[in-house]
């Protein structure tokens, strides 16, 4: 029995050297089949594809040979040696890694540091930003206390003026006459008038 692969080859008589376009389409087809064979090797084909490849493998010497090559290639990948470090180099790596992990801070310490930093930033920002701080604040009446005096300045300041101008206790009259008193310091009488 002839596989699709062989029939495709035999139906197109002109050689690839003579007809490059045909050669290109042949290559595309060959590569599709090669890809399926490759995937088959990895067990990555559908049930239909598996049947197709197994049919080629049963009947087509070319596919059989390619399959054998790929199996050998796989075997070679497994058995191929690579340049490896000698024992002392391995021990150097071990020592270097252990030295590094010992030096690194532990994770809980990192989180602890982050937590402390967060508290510090919160404290600083609350001081610097004041009322605009994103931190929660206690309600206060500071604003009202600031505003009230400016709204009615005279009402609150008057009693203080009165208290200064009026003596706490009445002073006994001295040797100075009332006229002398008025000349020396006219203010008390004026202030008294104002209050009245």
């Amino acid at each position: 029995m002839t596989s699709n692969f062989d029939s495709h080859n035999s139906n197109d008589q002109p050689s690839s050297a003579v007809n490059p376009n045909r050669s290109h389409s042949l290559n595309v087809m060959q590569r599709d089949r090669f890809e399926m064979l490759s995937a088959y090797l990895d067990g990555e084909v559908s049930a239909d594809e598996r049947r197709q490849v197994e049919e080629w493998l049963a009947n087509d010497p070319t596919v059989q040979r390619l399959h054998a090559r790929l199996l050998n290639l796989r075997q070679a990948f497994q058995t191929m040696s690579v340049p490896l470090s000698d024992q002392s180099s391995v021990q150097q790596t071990v020592d270097a890694v252990l030295a590094r992990v010992d030096r690194k801070p532990r994770l809980p310490l990192i989180w602890g540091g982050i937590a402390i930093a967060a508290v510090a930033i919160g404290a600083i920002s609350s001081v610097l930003l004041g009322e605009r701080s994103p931190l929660p604040q206690m309600a206060s009446t500071t604003n009202q206390e600031h505003v009230q005096p400016s709204q009615t300045p005279t009402d609150s300041e008057m009693p203080l003026l009165v208290a200064i101008d009026e003596p706490i206790a009445s002073l006994p009259k001295g040797p100075m006459s009332p006229s002398e008193l008025n000349q020396g310091n006219p203010l008390p009488s004026q202030a008294t008038d104002t209050i009245r």
Partner: protein
Amino acid sequence: MSHSLRLSWSTVEARAAQVPVQAEKLSNFDLILQCQSGHRPDTAAFAELMRRYQSHVERVLYHLAPDWQDRADLAQEVWIRVYRNIKRLNEPGKFRGWLSRIATNLFYDELRKRKRNASPLSLDAPLSVDDGEIDWEIASDSPGPDEDLTTREFYDQLREAIADLPEVFRTTIVLREIQGMAYEEIAEITGVSLGTVKSRIARARLRLQSQLQNYLDGV
């Protein structure tokens, strides 16, 4: 009599406490369990784990990055990551695959860094594998290797051929053939579609089998 018996018991207990279990004598499985116990991996156990698996790490990195001179540094990074994460490994029996994955991920992290700093060539450039053709008419009379010398020469040729593959093809075929990853896993780790993985693996094999056919037919 009873006095002497008590003495011998205490001696046994004291010895058991002094020498827990030597890491060198543990099986791979028990060694990994030992590394997973405690807050941090036990130093002696972890050192032994590194001695046993360093060759595997080197092998994986060699194939992924044959032309990098600083693979030893990358290997150290692999072990640092293993040290920090080994407690998260749920199945100690799958340590080898897990280790390969860590090495591969680190390689890709590093590769991306280097690509950002390098000229914008490589990934989007036309693939040079296209220039190869499959020789379907396989010469049956090609000389087959039948000596040790030829075998050694074959492995040299194979290493060279793998190293010469364009990077995306080399890494994909290595993940498949050396690490035994499934296509889906490779697609995930390399960030491409399943179809691309399938195509890259086939094209890498196409080139390798073409270059090495004289050896491969005679094995």
